[in-house]
């Protein structure tokens, strides 16, 4: 269990406005070191906006935020060095080979030439990708791509990895193997911050927050959420919270 006293992400009163539109409306929450934190919400609830701010890609309108010990206003480059990021859409370069992609990301994250070679070898062994080393990314199956994308996102041993809908579209067995890798990373001390539309995956998180209409409507362990909302599973919890707001979110 993660140590409760150590918060690796601290968000206090985060507000983000686009013109008159309030995308994040006074968000306050913490993510504990080493935990798997699920970040759920309907389309348009404000998840991506918050995620971009936490990754140092966008400034908040107001609020106090610390990510991996760094300030999101003044230390964005330090944040970027200490996090990994993977999304379903922007992950690997289709026209580079497996090996080239690994090298590319490792170099971007500032690893030395020797270290890059060492980690690339370990990684390809671990993923059983040895034979595919010189294959173009577009030639390998989606499931492999997704595992590889996750592995390169943590190749520099970041303190936190942000996963934005990492399992969309993959087959059910690969989806479970992917969570296997997430658990592995968490056990190695990497904090995992993950968004998903698969509600069964919400159950695999240590804690889950559910955003509705720019606010955090609920945040707790999956078990506590099921009890609070008298729901049999996380899907029911989600529907109960999100349904109420569905007209506004459209």
């Amino acid at each position: 269990m993660p140590n409760e006293s150590e918060n690796i992400i601290i968000v206090q009163d985060l507000v983000k406005k686009f013109g008159n539109f309030i995308a994040n409306d006074h968000l306050t929450f913490e993510v504990r070191k080493g935990e798997i934190f699920g970040f759920l919400g309907a389309n348009g609830a404000g998840k991506t906006t918050a995620l971009r701010i936490l990754c140092g890609l966008s400034y908040p309108t107001s609020g106090e935020l610390t990510v991996a010990g760094y300030n999101v206003y003044t230390q964005r480059e330090k944040i970027k060095r200490n996090i990994g990021y993977m999304s379903q859409k922007f992950s690997l370069y289709d026209d580079l080979t497996v090996y080239e992609n690994i090298r590319f990301y490792a170099a971007i994250y500032g690893l030395s030439g020797k270290e890059i070679d060492r980690r690339a070898t370990v990684l390809m062994q671990k993923l059983n990708l040895g034979e595919a080393r010189n294959k173009l990314i577009r030639e390998i199956p989606l499931g492999w791509k997704q595992k590889l994308a996750f592995s390169v996102a943590i190749i520099h041993d970041p303190k936190i990895v942000f996963l934005d809908e990492p399992t969309g579209g993959v087959d059910p067995i690969t989806r479970r193997q992917f969570w296997d890798m997430i658990y592995d990373a968490a056990r190695n001390g990497i904090t995992v911050f993950v968004t998903t539309h698969y509600m069964d995956e919400a159950e695999y998180c240590d804690r889950v927050s559910i955003m509705v209409d720019g606010r955090i409507a609920a945040l707790d362990t999956p078990m506590a959420l099921r009890e609070t909302f008298h729901a049999g599973n996380m899907n029911e919890v989600f529907l109960k919270l999100a349904r109420a707001q569905v007209k506004e979110v459209a």
Partner: protein, 329 residues
């Protein structure tokens, strides 16, 4: 392969879509392998499978946008190659990445699609009213500025505005949240009630139960075609849902049980499959007690579509054998 075309008049009367041994390669990769199936008139038919299974290739061939290497297919009795113009008039096609014009407004998009099919929004408003009225308050907003759920509703309206006989919806719910997904399926049911044949694909296994019949597709091959109920009936194993206070350890331990066929995590529970009649509830209970588990709860359950899909995957690809969520220690 000889084309059946409109030869079988009786068949064409009953079937909206007929596909006969379609094969399509992209270079070395076989996207579709001798795929055959038919969709009845007025049916809500689902293709359930992950990305890369061949769903989009199939939809593009049926929408007359892509040529197959071999095999043939008809839509409402028309050949996809020879009669492509006729097919385009009578189908509605919603591609995976909604083909909306990002820089046109909601209303302009709908009007555009109506115009190219020689009709008007007003003429067929009844058909789209149910869906379009939900986004009408935003009709001046550019499509590019819509949320995922709203884009999906607009794309469906655009695919419907010319009153098609058959709707092809390629992953309409991908990347869409659980609430919007549920609403979308309610809309499909109402369209089906109006007699429109609907062929829909999805990677979400839980949506299978909402179709009249489903095809489970993986690696370019259809593994099974049936009603959702029959797919579940055909599941060859016995199945327990097991919960203890430590799901992580539970998955590991169940793997060591000799009678175990497969163990997969399903939310807070583990689904344990076994040869029918070869493993009692009591035996599982005793085994878990012995391993130190507390708060053990074991229920005999019916499989869901995802259980069935994974069982079929393992059968087709025997090397994967016992794969579980948390395989490494």
């Amino acid at each position: 392969m000889k084309g059946r075309g409109r030869g079988g008049v009786n068949e064409a009367m009953k079937h909206s879509v007929d596909v006969n041994t379609l094969t399509k390669h992209y270079g070395e990769v076989a996207a579709l392998k001798e795929t055959s199936f038919s969709v009845k008139k007025g049916e809500l038919f689902g293709f359930i499978g992950p990305d890369g299974a061949g769903k989009t290739t199939l939809f593009r061939i049926l929408a007359t946008l892509l040529l197959a290497d071999s095999g043939n297919a008809t839509v409402e009795g028309y050949e996809v190659v020879k009669d492509y113009r006729k097919i385009r008039r009578i189908i509605g096609y919603m591609p995976g990445r909604f083909s909306l014009y990002q820089d046109l407004s909601v209303e302009e998009n709908l009007r555009f699609f109506a115009t190219i099919f020689g009709t008007t929004i007003e003429e067929n408003y009844d058909l789209v009213k149910d869906i379009y009225s939900q986004i009408e308050p935003f009709k001046t907003r550019k499509a590019g500025k819509l949320s995922g759920g709203m884009k999906q509703k607009l794309a469906l309206s655009c695919a419907l505005i010319h009153k098609p006989e058959v709707l092809f919806l390629d992953e309409p719910t991908t990347g869409v949240d659980a609430v919007s997904r549920q609403e979308f399926w309610e809309m499909l049911k109402r369209l089906k009630a109006q007699g429109i044949t609907i062929v829909v694909s999805t990677p979400y296994m839980d949506e299978a139960g909402l179709c009249d019949r489903v095809a489970l597709i993986q690696d370019g091959s259809i593994m099974q075609i049936s009603t959702p109920e029959a797919v579940v009936e055909a599941y060859p194993m016995g199945l327990y849902s097991v919960i203890t206070s430590d799901i992580y350890q539970l998955l590991h331990d169940l793997q060591k049980l000799p009678q175990t066929h497969s163990v997969f995590a399903f939310g807070q529970a583990a689904h344990l499959s076994y040869q029918k009649g070869k493993l009692s509830k009591q035996a599982v209970f005793d085994f878990l007690k012995e391993a130190g588990h507390r708060n053990v709860d074991i229920q005999q359950i019916k499989p869901n579509i995802e259980d069935c899909f994974m069982e079929l995957m393992q059968k087709e690809c025997p090397t994967s054998q016992k794969i579980l969520l948390l395989s490494k220690t």
